[in-house]
């Protein structure tokens, strides 16, 4: 029943994640994130003055530009831009800088499955690098469902194409509060139970979907610890970038 995955990964095993901040010199914030072979580069410019026409000037506006590796920008890119924008609107503190626009540019370097999660991690790291105020980081994960009903986490491109269905989930990361432990366990649990974004492809039963969500939620804590460690470790050891 167990499906053999390339590289001998277990069904619950994610590919190694790596995250570098401050990779570009002109951008206000930049980050490069890689999950296995998938690599995404994100840059943040902002906040800039003014918002777009139809946007609410009482809040900060987020603009996402998604650049594919080759080819012209089409509908898939527009859809991904919209998904990213809405996800980020949830994690950014929009009322801190009203009437401003923050531009986020995402460049796909290599796509080997789990592209959207990788992009979200890169974007969060770039926002941290730029110093944009955030409520929490976003942690994202792709789960796919095989024909036999088994759930695999973090599929590669080949696996994605063979699967019956897959779902991409984005959760807020666990919050390390500087406040003393006043918050009751109930409140901390509730943040972890939120799903910011969920994107499915293919057909799956409701039960399977909730199983995927369970798996995803269980991976939130270790994933967010890793991402935070990567971001923290870099800022500690980093000398100022020579011009």
């Amino acid at each position: 029943m167990d499906i053999e995955r390339a590289g001998g990964r277990g069904a619950n095993q994610l590919r190694p994640i790596d995250c570098f901040r401050d990779v570009l010199s002109r951008a206000h914030g930049s980050a490069s994130c890689s999950q296995g072979e998938t690599r995404v580069l994100a840059a943040v410019f902002g906040p800039k003055a003014g918002t777009k026409k139809n946007e609410n000037p009482e809040k900060a506006c987020i603009e996402v530009i998604w650049k594919p590796k080759t080819g012209q920008i089409g509908k898939t890119e527009k859809e991904l831009e919209m998904i990213l924008k809405r996800t980020l609107q949830n994690i950014c503190l929009l009322s801190v800088h009203p009437n401003t626009t923050t531009s986020i540019i995402v460049q796909v370097v290599h796509d080997d499955g789990s592209l959207l999660p990788c992009a979200i991690h890169a974007t969060c790291a770039a926002l941290v690098d730029a110093g944009i105020p955030l409520k929490s980081l976003a942690v994202s994960l792709c789960c796919c469902l095989t024909e036999s009903g088994q759930i695999l986490l973090d599929p590669s491109k080949l696996e994605e194409q063979k699967m019956k269905a897959f779902v991409c989930l984005v959760f807020p990361s666990s919050v390390n509060s500087v406040l003393p432990e006043e918050s009751t366990p109930a409140t901390t649990k509730s943040t972890e139970q939120e799903i910011i974004t969920s994107l499915t492809h293919g057909v799956m039963t409701v039960d399977d979907y909730f199983h995927c969500v369970e798996q995803g939620r269980a991976a939130v804590a270790p994933l967010s610890n890793i991402l935070k460690k990567k971001m923290r470790s870099q800022s500690a050891g980093k000398s100022s970038k020579a011009a």
Binding site: G8, R9, Q13, D22, Q107
Partner: protein, 410 residues
């Protein structure tokens, strides 16, 4: 409207005066001499035809893809080469998404003229069926970071990507021999492109009234310069293209001097590109040897063979030619401990790579390979421990830290 002004960066009068005065004494703001290039690093991605070039602060990425199309009517037996330049808004706040500005178009044209019109890439070999099917090679250049002198960096990225690109092999088949069958890379080895020569673009900036000439202007120097000249040359001494679009007038003697300097620099850069490409090709060839066992071992379920399967696959993408010398003892241990069904040398990859994870991280080029190293380590460990989701995400902090410091340094 105001947003655009808010985005554009203006240079102060003080900065301008400083740069010009310093140049009178042959000093540049980053400590270079007037005819020194910045540090050039060329890295390659995980697939064929993808390159990343860093020239000082300037970063450009090149991707090459190919497709079968119908040829142009006036050239029925030649393939096509197209260059698409993307000035990504991440490179500079003044670059806007959407329509390319004039500097983007100019850059595209310079690289295009250097590569296509000088016949650097052999287009006749891209023909499959004359008049019906030819290969169309598409080069996408993404400008990621504008640190000045985008033309040179973009040119190098395009060349590096072209030299490492391989197109699938195709044969004629079908009843009348008119059908083209494209073979996937697993079945038949893809073919490299035939590149006759490497046209290297060298950019000069002219400053001030005393016609001071500097090479490879950085971003602040570009804001101060009076005129710019780009000469595209190859090591055979051919001038493939010269571009001087307006700007300050310069004497003929100065132009000739620039061309002479450019030929020296072109030889230098060609050497660097060739060396980087050779290194990449060697590691790619070594990876190739390991690839074949995968198809045999795919569906075995016994544990021993599973371990072999995992380890072998992990070995395919993480072979480091440089650590081979130290592996003799581990080779023997590895061979003795496992029942070898596949040829011996294919097993070598497993043991050394599991134990020498740190060694392989040192070279910055392996930054792309090393994520797959940890797959091997995880694969071995994952099977041994009880499976739980906490184990699912392996925090390879130590290794990633060395990775971080290397990648930042590059």
């Amino acid at each position: 409207m105001e947003q655009r002004f808010a985005n554009s960066w203006r240079m102060t009068v003080n900065e301008k005066k400083f740069i010009q005065t310093a140049l009178l004494s042959d000093l540049r703001t980053d400590g270079r001499g007037p005819f020194d290039y910045r540090n050039l690093t060329i890295q390659f991605g995980s697939e064929d035809g993808s390159s990343e070039v860093q020239l000082g602060q300037t970063r450009v990425m090149g991707f090459v893809t190919s497709q079968l199309v119908q040829p142009y009517r006036d050239r029925p037996n030649e393939g096509t080469l197209a260059i698409f330049t993307e000035f990504s808004p991440m490179a500079d706040p003044s670059f806007e998404a959407g329509r390319p500005g004039e500097s983007a178009l100019e850059l595209g044209r310079i690289v295009d003229r250097g590569l296509r019109e000088s016949r650097a890439v052999d287009t006749e070999s891209l023909c499959v069926i004359a008049g019906k099917w030819v290969w169309s090679v598409r080069i996408d250049l993404h400008i990621l970071d504008n640190g000045g002198n985008l033309v040179d960096a973009a040119n190098i990225a395009a060349l590096a990507a072209l030299l490492t690109f391989r197109r699938p092999e195709c044969t004629l088949g079908g009843e009348d021999g008119q059908e083209v069958i494209i073979h996937p890379p697993e079945v038949r080895e893809p073919l490299s492109l035939i590149v006759h020569h490497l046209p290297i673009a060298v950019t000069f900036a002219f400053m001030g009234d005393q016609s001071i000439v500097i090479i490879d202007p950085s971003h602040i120097e570009e804001a101060v310069m009076g005129g710019k000249l780009t000469a595209t040359l190859n090591t055979n001494g051919d001038v493939c293209a010269i571009q001087k679009a307006g700007g300050e007038g310069v004497m003929q003697s100065v132009v000739m001097q620039c061309l002479r300097i450019a030929s020296v620099k072109a030889a230098d850069i060609t050497g660097k590109i060739k060396k980087a490409v050779e290194l990449y090709k060697t590691s790619r060839d070594l990876k190739k040897i390991k690839r074949h066992p995968d198809s045999e071992v795919e569906s075995h379920s016994s544990k021993k063979e599973e371990r072999k399967h995992k380890a072998v696959i992990a070995g395919t993408s993480s072979w480091d030619p440089y650590s081979k010398a130290a592996d003799a003892d581990e080779l023997k241990a590895g061979l003795a401990s496992q029942a070898v069904a596949t040829p011996d040398e294919k097993m070598d990859a497993i043991q050394p790579e599991k134990q020498q994870l740190n060694v392989m991280d040192e070279s910055p080029r392996d930054a792309d390979l090393s994520p797959s190293l940890s797959v091997a380590a995880e694969a071995g460990e994952g099977k041994n421990k009880a499976k739980s989701l906490l184990d699912a995400v392996k925090p390879k902090h130590k290794r990633k830290k060395t990775n971080l410091s290397n990648s930042d340094g590059s």
